[in-house]
Symmetry: C2
Subunit: 190 residues, 2 copies
DNA sequence: GCATTTACCTAACACTTTTAGGCAAATATC
DNA sequence: GATATTTGCCTAAAAGTGTTAGGTAAATGC
């Protein structure tokens, strides 16, 4: 009987694609086994369990997202960089909704520390280099940016802004404008 | 054999409590049946299916959240109202993580239209009455606020801001400061 | 060509979701 | 208060997912 040539990587990729097609929570060990026309138990030689598989998909998504972010902010600064960074998030979530959901999977601390999540944190800080923010305000700003990007993208993909004027694209652009203005005029503590 | 006295409402409440204890995605028809010491099939007289049950929990959470928001902004305006509104979100998500997750469940359009989600939208707009924003900028601001609140709370509950200085509480306060400043100086289109 | 490793399989069990049909408790009717 | 009806919870069963244990055949190394 010919072998299917399974690998943890191939399973992860198939899982990521499946996630984008039918949603991350529909990604199941069984579904992937079906995809490779293989018995479910066979996957357990390559992946510890369902949670392990999902974690791998999450890590893949984080890497992809970080790569795109890095490419976007290279050679840009200030508002240009901010807008490019923001667009990467939104575009990625729209192109790869399942992967994006996967990227939000809570990881255990060691896994998170070894993930591309730390690159994200570094890049967000780098983004703020164009603005004049000392600690601890810089950290507050990092958290604000993360919240806005994730929050917007998550509400948008849940359908929150569709079927209502104005266009989501327009709001996105204006929100980036507003964030830029805010970062340039960050309020001092009262 | 004595009856358990099941109701859709009682199932929903039990589901909400269970969600807060073990997470919304661990809320299963079986788990609730166990809680009432009843056979699983019995629940299907009160609830159409698993999705129906989860939707009911989501609607409950949306109502609770809207009630709290309404109480928080009553008699307040400007930054006071903004801060109170923001705290409701954060506090609710911390007190009731499972319910909060439930509140983010994507609803089909008719269900959403009949839900407390519309109250939320109205209240967020009311919040902006203290600031001087004409359409379409007001809508952009509504979407920004929703994104920040949801994004922050969601990242925080995923553990994003724990174990790192400064304190999450401090960031939250400063972010509200920053949003207030931003709304008072909303940038004009370039 | 043989030994070893490895990949995939069968078998089995536990759990969740859902449907169909039955019996007894609660409620309504006389 | 006895009877009829409704309703609530039951048993039974099927289908799908997750996981483990142990077997066989294919690939790999010598």
């Amino acid at each position: 009987m010919a072998r299917a040539g399974l690998t943890a990587e191939r399973l992860t990729r198939a899982g990521a694609e499946l996630a984008d097609e039918v949603g991350f929570d529909q990604v199941t060990v069984s579904a992937i086994a079906r995809h490779f026309d293989v018995k479910v138990a066979s996957l357990y030689s390559h992946v510890r369990n369902s949670h392990d598989l999902k974690t791998r998909i999450a890590l893949l998504a984080l890497e992809e997202l970080a790569d795109r972010c890095a490419a976007a902010i290279a050679g840009r600064a200030g508002k240009d960089a901010l807008a490019a960074f923001a667009d990467v998030y939104r575009d990625y979530a729209r192109e790869h909704p399942g992967r994006y959901t996967a990227a939000r999977l809570p990881l255990d601390p060691e896994t998170a520390a070894a993930s591309a999540g730390v690159r994200h944190a570094r890049m967000t800080r780098a983004l703020l280099r164009g603005y004049d923010l000392a600690e601890p305000e810089q950290t507050h700003a990092v958290r604000l940016l993360g919240s806005v990007f994730h929050g917007y993208v998550s509400l948008e993909s849940a359908g929150g802004f569709s079927h209502s004027a104005p266009d989501s694209q327009e709001s996105w652009a204006r929100i980036v404008d507003a964030l830029d203005a805010l970062l340039r005029n960050w309020p001092t503590t009262p």
